[in-house]
Amino acid sequence: MFDLDRRQFIGGAAATAAGIAWHNPLFAAPERAGEGPWDLVAVRNGGPAEMFESGIKELGGMQAFVKKGQKVVVKPNIAWDKPPAIPANTNPDLVAAVVRHCREAGAAEVVVFDHTCHNWKDTYKRSGIGAAVKSAGGRMEAGNLEDFYREVELPKARILKKTMMHRAILDCDVFINVPVLKHHGSAMLSLAMKNLMGVVWDRRYFHDKGLDQCIADLCFAPRRPDLSIIDAYRILRKHGPQGRAEEDGEIAKYQLLGGNMVALDAAAAKLFGKRPEEVGHIRIASEMGAGEADLEKVRIKRITLPA
């Protein structure tokens, strides 16, 4: 196998695109207008909301996902009682931007929740997400009551054959997953798939029976995210998943958007500096055919915003 460096790759891709465009203007047109059917959009060098604006545009805008009158659930990571400067939770500006876009696309209701690890009242408040969602026109829901969860079956899963999922997820029309990229003591990294542990009730089962396999099994849940947005504006580099102090966080200014969690997680792992196959649940999920972890085979749109 020959090695391509980035320049060669871009050059080659540009030449190919130019060639195609030259010969077939019909095929090139969407490419130029930025409407290509991308598997993954990677944005860098902007604020969380700003990067989301340009990223979602590449995926056809929020109206490609949310239709008028639909019920939307946005599931950020709000697990820990930490302020935004310690990036244990999703950036509140990003969550607000997602909620606002859903409302503008005509969503009847936008519900935001997480099955938190710390007291939900504290995490919703200190993360800034509670206030951000309210001002953006969404509604916070709680995830810490067992009665909110219904049992579902995952026939294609290897271990997690049955679990209890939050009714908001099971009853919604559109499910948007908004994790944050962070270090994780148990799962190595916490990404899009790992964020789904916040929609199930019994998480001790995951730890007891095999964490990586159970996380990968969530790709076969009856309800999967229609869109995932990985917040990597701030990355938690160490002491994950909750972080100890601001020094654990790194301002990286990235964001990844796409429909397939495995591809997104693979790209996010690379942003963190890990190979995707090093991360147990990404490796297992891709083996099980839940998605493509080989980023060579993923159509990626890369956007660098002007500083």
């Binding site: 980035r6 990677a42 860098r44 009682d81 400067a85 690890c117 710390h118 007291n119 009242k121 504290d122 200190r126 709680a142 810490n144 009551l145 009665d147 909110f148 994780h184 003591g185 148990s186 799962a187 998480r203 001790r204 089962y205 730890h207 007891d208 029976k209 095999g210 964490l211 990586d212 396999q213 701030r234 990355i235 580099r237 002491h239 994950g240 998943p241 909750q242 100890r244 102090a245 601001e246 020094e247 966080g249 790194e250 301002i251 990286a252 200014k253 693979a266 790209a267 690379k270 942003l271 500096g273 147990g280 980023l295 990626i300 890369r302 660098t304």
Partner: protein, 559 residues
Amino acid sequence: MSVRSYRRLRIAVGAVVLLACTVVFADVRDWFEAPAARWLLWPQFGPSVLGFLTDPGWVAAGFLVVLGMTLLLGRVYCAMLCPLGVLMDFSAWLGRRTGARRRLSYRRGRTWLRVAVVAAAVVAVAGGSAWAAGLLEPFSLFGRIVSGTLRPLAGWANNAAALAGWTMPVEVSPVPWTVLGLALGMLGLVVVLALIRGRLWCNTLCPVGAVLGAVSKFSIYRLQIDGSECTACSMCERVCPAQCIDFRNHRIEHSRCVMCLDCVRSCRRSGITLERAVASASGRPRGRLLSAGVGGEYPGGGPGARATVLPSVTRRLLLRGALLLPAAALAGKGDGNRRRRGWGGGRGQGGGGRGRRKGSHSGTCDRDLDQFSKRPSLPPGAISLEHFRSHCTACHLCVSNCPEQVLRPSVTKWGLAGFLQPYQDFDHAFCAYECADCSQVCPTGAIQPLTVDERKGVQTGVAEFFKGRCVVKTQGTACGACAEHCPTAAIQMVPWQNGLTIPEVDPDLCVGCGGCEFICPVTPQKAIVVHGHREHTAARRPLLGRENTVREIKEEFPF
């Protein structure tokens, strides 16, 4: 002030006290933030005395105001500030409204019982088991009743509403059966007694009633029956809930009078008045002789006129005693401060955990310690088991106000010496790192007030890891739930076999919050257990950077 407006005031203040105390103890939705709840309960006599003994200051000086009021007017506290007393009046009123018309009559007081109750309370506190004093102390008893019955009910109702989408759900710690039974039993006893015998409780079993009763014997203003006005209709005796009016002899037993003034209202001829009893010092007749009339119509009094200088001497002695009390408390304060400095002054004085610490490092299952056999944890701020047991009256205000609902009343966890006193139950929750509410709310000083920042420097217990039980070893799968929940990174996942990582505890950093034990998926014996300290020690707090690092961009997109 006219009798009518006093009565209105009594009912209004009583209603506010009853409602506020009920809401504070049944507050599942955190309507009252911790300091607000604490201030609301400032004039509560029992907790205030204990609080003053540990840390004298105006924060705990509510009981001095109550003593002052009692010296001036009698048992005004019992009339309107005591939640249990107001509850009794309310029950009796409801009983009368629903037809159970019951006439009361004069009964003799049971002084020996009252003295015994106070003596028992003092012995209990001095002997290091304050719960026994709190068992009958009206504020603590009221708190336990509401916290044990109404609070779980409110939580259940709230969560039923939450399921329908009307509100957000709340966590409510389960109430042990013993505590529920005791609360219901005491509530039944108090209400039934109130229905049939008015304020009998207050003048027999209540230690606060006994103390204030003794003080009110010397109060400046007292109710007196004017024999010249009395038509012997017996109305006053019939309505008196304390059964302390002997209308035949025109006598009121002031130590039992709870200052409801129902007698004054019942008298059609204004024969009962609130008079300045000091007048007796100038040689005018008083007490029993009031029957001969106090208005000067029958000068000279009746037979058996007593020398009246005596009470005033006693009053002076009593006042001096009241002044001595704070002095005694100040003497105790130095001790408390010494203890508190210990928290900040590095670890090492609480040698109790030394041997254990080694064990947790080696990580071998050298002892069969588990979540059932370990010592439970005291709330942060409790200083030591001895301090906690000798100051906690088990009012359960911290149990009601714990945002995590990790505090639960004990039954046998602290032994008989600590019956009903709260402990941290890591089966259902764990202690929040960013919270010190229990310490802010405790009215007796059993849990000394801490700021959130101070709380982070206190080690209430220490985590011990048992590798032999850990799923990483027994099942060969990745876990690390304990390390995830550790707020101080005292638990780190260190490389082990086959690319797996396994927990390792740094006991110096551990605050004993119990997050690890709570989340550990191993059953029945947890692989990580927080063993409570008998005496709290200091947790090491490393200096941490308060700035994010900034990424150096080598390549714009690494994929």
